[in-house]
Symmetry: C2
């Protein structure tokens, strides 16, 4: 373990274009392998090779790092999803495109950040923005599924199934570390689960 | 909050046929709503209305409670699953029966215990028995899927899809608290995802 207050290492220990990215890489590793509650900001600073005070200039709290990590798994997909809602597109093709992009972003980090979706801490108000973004994304899936399957009632749980299959890439990745997952194939399964594609 | 060392309440606070069941109910609530790391055995004893010393006569450690909770979501299903592997049965029917039983057990507790499957702590050796049981269950799913879909390679990720759809009832329940989930319908989706049923 490193001693407190030591200077920044000359070389970078962590991948990332910016110091904030390096911090997020370390936070993602520690949150997913040791646990969010069990990880201190001090441990994150040590894992980056910076002082704790430097870390705070980028992220004022541990929650701020978690929010940034969670957002990175949802916001780019949500941007694409809004465009895919365009009513002139074929809903089955839009659903498949959305599922593919979503799986790609869930796999984009070298750490399995989606594991953190079930943290009890996410019920707190700090995470309201993330919860709203993920909820909007789920709603867009439901709208596309409803267009593909107009026979389904608004309360039918099948409306959520493609979203569930997409997110099940998270436990799959956890159970098969190191195995390469084909996002396009996983997306096909996410449409097949409602009997289309 | 209750004071330390107070006597057992006359009435029971928790559902459960035995004191151990009451303790597990409290542990499941606190682990799923506050987090495993953030929950002390003291908090669990307080939530049951017993002394911490009494709690230790039932469960020597916090990990022992977690193991018992995790096992309750997998072991009854695994017992059924072994029987369903009988080669004289129709594999599609066996897969549907297994998925139905599995969803039922994942929904059996009033707390969403499956949320705890992604805890980093589960990588430790205390949880080897649970990991082996869940892995055996996943293997039985794979065998049944392979019988239904003999065209799939042993390395095909589709072999895992029914298991993934079944377990996706865990985040679904988290996102829709209080909504009743039909296990038989969820199980049909778990077979449809591989194009059968």
């Amino acid at each position: 373990m490193s001693s407190p207050g030591r200077p920044r290492l000359v070389g970078r220990r962590r991948p990332g274009a910016t110091p904030a990215d390096e911090i997020l890489d370390a936070a993602a590793e520690l949150f997913t392998t040791r646990g969010y509650t069990a990880t201190s900001t001090r441990a994150i600073a040590d894992a980056v090779g910076i002082r704790q005070a430097s870390l705070y200039t980028h992220f004022p709290t541990k929650a701020a790092m978690l929010i940034s990590l969670l957002d990175s798994t949802v916001r780019p997909t949500l941007e694409s999803a809004r465009g895919l809602l365009d009513a002139s597109r074929d809903p089955g093709e839009s659903l498949l495109a959305l599922a593919t992009i979503d799986v790609e972003w869930l796999l984009a980090s070298r750490w399995n950040i989606g594991m953190l979706y079930v943290l009890p801490e996410l019920a707190g108000e700090d995470f309201e923005g993330f919860r709203a973004a993920r909820s909007e994304l789920r709603g867009i899936y439901r709208q596309l599924v409803a267009r593909c399957r107009p026979d389904l009632d608004p309360g039918d749980p099948d409306l959520d199934l493609p979203f569930r299959v997409v997110e099940s890439v998270i436990p799959h990745r956890q159970d098969h570390p190191g195995v390469v997952i084909d996002a396009a194939r996983w997306a096909v399964a996410a449409t097949r689960v409602i009997g289309i594609g």
